[in-house]
Amino acid sequence: MREQLKADLLVSLKQKRRGFAKGWYKFSRNLLSVLGLVVLILIVLAALLAPYITPYPEHAKPYTNFKDGGKPPSLEHFFGTDRVGRDIFSRVIFGYRFSLTIGVVVLSLGVAPGVILGLIAGYHKGTWIETVIMRITDIFLAVPPLVLALAITAMLTPNLTNQMMAIALVWWPWYSRLVFALASSLRNEYFVREAELTGASKLHIMLKEILPNCLAPVMTKMTLDMGIVILLGATLSFIGLGVQPPKPGLGTMVAEGSKRLPGEWWGAIFPALAIVVVILAFNLVGDGLRDVFAVEEV
C-alpha cells in the first residue's frame, strides 16, 4: 500500500513537471508576458529584501531631516527626497511591501468564499439556493467597488488591516459570478451526469468533478486582479483611509507628494509610476497565463 502511494506520487510529480514545462513553453512564446514576469519577480525580491537592499531603509520608519528635504533626483537619492527629507526610492521599495501584501491577503480572503459560493450556486442552478446566493452576489456587485470599500473602511478605523478586509468584501462576488457561470454549464456535462447516476455525493461532484475544471479561469483572473486590488488599495490610501502616514504606502506617498506638484514633481510621480509598473506587470503575466491555459487545437 505504501509502495503504491509512492508510485502514485512519483507519477503525478512527473506529470506535473511535464505539464509545467509545456506551460512555460506556451508562456514564453509571448515576450511581453515574460517581461512582465521578470519585472514582477524583481519587485517581489526587492520588497522581500527591502531592509537590505535599499540605500536608506530607516527612512521608511518615522524620520525627519529637513535639511535634506525637497532634493530632486540625484545619484544619492534616485527618486529624490520628499518634504521631510526621506529618500523616496527606499520608501517606494518598502511601499511595494504594502501593495503586495494587500494583493495577496485580499485575494486569499476573497477568492475562496467567492469560489465556494459560486460552485454551490452553479451546481444548484434553478433552485432557491442559487437564487439566494446569486442575489446576494448581485447586491454586492451593484455597489461600485470603491464606494463600498470606502463605506466599510470609513466605518472602521482606517488602517491596513481594515483596508484589506474591506477590499476582500468587495472582491469575492466577482469570483462567485465567474465560478457560477462555469459551474452551471459544467453541470450539464456527461461526466458530471455520470457521477450523479453513479450515486456520488454532491460534495464529491462539486469538489472533485466540477471544481478542477474551474481552476484555470480563476487563476488567470486572480493574476489580473492583483493589479486592480493594488490600485484600489492605493486609492484608499490616497484618500487617507488606508495606510496611514508616516508609513510608506504608495498611495499615501502620492497623496503627500501631490501637494508639491508641479514644482517638486518627484514626490508624486515616482510612487505613481511604481503603481503603474506593478499593475502592468501583473496584467502582462495574466495575459500570458491565459495563453497557457488555452486549449490548443491542431
Binding site: 509545456k22 513553453y25 506556451k26 490548443e296 491542431v298
Partner: protein
Amino acid sequence: MKQNMSPLLDVRDLSVGFKIFEGYLSVLNGVELTLGEGERVGLVGETGCGKTTTVKSILRVLPMPPARIAGGEIFYRGKDILKMKRREVQTLRRMELTAIFQDPLMSLNPVFTVGTQLRDIVKDSLGASGKKLTKKQITARCIEALKETGMPDPERIMSNYPIQLSGGMRQRVCIAEALSTTAQLLLADEPTTNLDVTIQDQILRKLDELVEEKNTSVLMITHSLGVVMDLTQRLYIMYAGTMVEEGQTEELFASPLHPYSQGLMKSVPKLTGEGVSDGIPGRIPNYLDPPAGCRFEPRCEHTMPVCRTEKPPLFNVENGRHVACFLYRS
C-alpha cells in the same frame, strides 16, 4: 481511368506538418491526388488520417504557424495554389472552389438570416463574373437554389435564422450556397455525418442530381464507406497522411488490395449479419515519430523487411488501380 486532358486538381507529393510543444507532427506524408473535370472522387479515411488537413491545404486555410508545408505542390488548372499570392487565392476561393463542411451550424452565421447569407454569395459570385443583377433577380436566384436542394417552402426559409432550421435543412442551405457560385470544384468534408439516415439519403441523392446537372467536380471526403459507394466514380483510401489505394469505386469495393483497405472493408458491419469483425489491431502512428517506411507497417499482417525502411509509392496495378504496398511491386 485517368482523363486525357490535364486534371482539374493535381496534388503532388504534398507534405504538411505542425510544430507543437512536443515536437514536429509530420502529418501529411507525400499525398497524391488528382481530380479531373466533371469527376466525382471520394476520399475515405478515418479520424486522424489527414483528410481535413488535405482539404485545408487545398483551400489554403491552414494556420501557417504552427502548420508548415514541408513539400509538394497543389496544381489547380496548372497553377500551384501553394505559390499563389493572397489575392489570387482569394479569387480562387471565390470563383473556382467551394466547400461544404460537416457541421452546418458552424458554417452558417447565426446572426444573419438564410436570405442575407445566400444573397451575399449569389451577389458576390455572379456580380464578379460581369453580370449586374438587381435585388429581385438575386433573391429569385437564391430561392431557385434552395428549391433545387429539395428544400420545402424556400420563400419562408429565406427569412429564417439558421438556428430555426433542422440539421438537414441547414445542410441544404450550405449546399445551395456552395452550388450557386460559379465554382467548378466542390470539396465536401463529411457533409452528412451529423444527419439522420433518412435525411442523409435524401441529401446525398439531391447532391448527386445537382452535380450531375452542373457537371461540377466533387471531392467527397468521409469516413463512411457506404456514402461514397453510390456517389463517386473513383475512390482514394487514406491512412496516416498518405494515399494507400486508389481505383474505380465499384472495383475497389469488390476487391480491396491494400491490407488497410481490406481491414477497413471487413470492419464495416454487414447487413448479412455475420457478426462484427475485430477491426484493425493497433493504433494510428504517432505523428511525432512516425515509421520511416510504410506507415501502416506496424499493424500489417503481410509485413516484409522493405516495408520498415522504404515508403511504398503508389504502384500501378492495372487500369487505373494504384496501391501503395510492396506486395504489389510489379
